[in-house]
Symmetry: C2
Subunit: 340 residues, 2 copies
């Protein structure tokens, strides 16, 4: 079986790690597309070595795809359907399978039904597959759906996850309204036009992976306040006690079959000693739980995507979500040894 | 799709819970086989109600199978291949699919290869499937294999699980050598002819579910000593400090592809405040972990088996392990709605 050929669409932090992992799995990187580092080599924008290091980043995706005819495009450029739809369609029309980190596309049949149907149609017409994977695939969907598989009756499944604003720089800190007063936060929340939460798309994927039919989806947002003066490294400032240090999105998905799915996702400035965790509690017969305390999210994001590559290359054409792929599985050996 | 018909082979504690869960999933219980309660009804030996309560427990499996021609037999009579092989073959030869709790059969290709091959052959000849599921399926195989699917490189996966001798009565307490001196334990261990550990079979299933090739399997056994005088309810006695309160089996499975799989299983008398847990640590890129603290094992055993029923009825003929079935999934709605 020949090595799969890959074009990297996006060569930032995630793209660079994924490219290295793909090379360690015997893929061949034949092209790179990005907006901001055009003309540089992958060796210059990442730590890649060997032939892949000499691949030059280009701006014109269609040109790269027409020339290199890759088996797969790895897309790491954006989170939302509106930002990835046209780039994905371009890849599919050039006969390339696509796997992305676009969080909304983990399961976008409810949040962007028309665009999802268009991607599905174009993928089928061209005999290729589009899938989104990443950290959510493993920790918010597959582990949860597997835990649910050990229950006889489910009333509610509730997940709690969090991330530290200080891990992501000033832009995201401002997005999380760090430093707001309660009044400022309420005013922002009342008028904010926010895209769908990643939690909602993840719960839709959990439902699909469990054969459940989504009825209603709601999101509530609650501010988290500093209980004492707190240092915010991302903004290089001190947040006074009583001001906002971030917020929690509480996504609730109800299903026709009964189980209620909830995900509480908090992005805030951490206190010393606080760490990410991923914790799920199931209420039903019986009550169950699951927790991960070690969460190197950037690496699980990339590793999970790479482990999905042979499944995506083997999948039926169309928009195939991780709810419709086989069980998430560690890849022993090169990608080519797992191709059908 | 018609209701699947089921014969219960074994009507003890687990069989009774499973029968109730099956009825709540719209299965029809058409027969019952057991050694010790022959002539009683399922209503008398369990809390079942309705038509199923009037099913009479019989001794002659072949006669029950020939008369009732069930779609499925649920077997809850023993843990090891040598004890279930003939009953399983009888069911398969009567054209019934079988799902069991026989722990060795979770993955018995390495521990009982010839018997496993015979079961596989007879199942294929009769167009039916034999699978073993239970608590291990969810907590020692599927969750672990899914966690592994979020790693790029795995050096070692190590699980720790435990159970309380006092939950299982005097026979198992004596099996765990409770009350032995260190010398008595060493003498017993030196000559004991013990069957394969359930840990070994579970790790073999993890390897199979992850596309890994088993090289070597070893088991080491270490006593656990009382650090102070301890009450053992199962034996209605006090174990003096320094005496054995149980032991730990440490199973190690090495694989051709590199990952080393380890399961430390401790069965001992618990101290006040100690509780079961299921904890796994993965060393590699990146390091990862997983823990369950709520472990109602008898219910997860039964619920997991029941959730596997449609997959077993849909499966290709043969000895199909849980490593070869689709992802473990919660069953919303009746069994019949999940049949292909």
């Amino acid at each position: 079986m020949k090595k799969p050929t890959v074009v990297m669409f996006g060569v930032g932090a995630m793209g660079s790690i994924i490219a290295r992992m793909l090379l360690e799995r015997d893929a061949e990187i034949v092209g790179a597309v990005a907006r901001s580092t055009v003309g540089k080599t992958l060796g210059e924008v990442s730590s890649l070595e060997g032939d892949a290091a000499r691949v030059v980043v280009e701006a014109d995706a269609a040109e790269v795809l027409a020339r290199t005819k890759p088996d797969l495009v790895v897309m790491t450029i954006a989170s939302y359907m509106e930002d990835v739809k046209e780039p994905v369609l371009t890849c599919l029309r050039h006969g390339a399978n696509v796997i992305s980190l676009a969080e909304e596309n983990l399961y976008s049949w409810h949040t962007s039904p028309e665009d999802t149907a268009e991607i599905d149609r174009v993928a089928r017409e061209n005999g290729v597959t589009y899938t989104c994977s990443g950290h959510q695939d493993g920790y918010w969907v597959q582990l949860v759906a597997t835990l649910m598989g050990t229950a006889h009756r489910i009333d509610e499944v509730r997940g709690k996850a969090s991330w530290n604003v200080d891990d992501f720089g000033p832009e995201l800190a401002r997005d999380q309204q760090v430093g707001d007063t309660a009044e400022e936060f309420a005013a922002w929340l009342g008028t904010a036009e926010r895209p769908p939460t990643f939690g909602r798309n993840s719960l839709h994927a959990v439902a699909a992976a469990s054969g459940l039919t989504v009825e209603h989806s709601t999101t509530e947002t609650e501010p988290v306040f500093a209980t004492e003066d707190m240092r915010c490294a991302a903004l290089d400032t001190t947040v006074p006690a009583g001001r906002v240090i971030g917020f929690t999105d509480i996504d609730v998905v109800t299903t026709k079959e009964g189980p209620r799915l909830v995900l509480e996702m908090t992005g805030k400035v951490y206190s010393p000693g606080e760490a990410d965790s991923n914790a799920w509690v199931l209420k039903g017969e019986p009550d169950l739980d699951l927790e991960n305390q070690v969460l190197p999210t950037h690496l699980t994001t990339c590793a999970t995507l790479v482990n999905r590559v042979p499944q995506v290359l083997n999948a039926e054409p169309g928009y195939v979500t991780v709810a419709g792929l086989p069980r998430l599985q560690y890849m022993g050996g090169p990608i080519s040894s797992h191709l059908a």
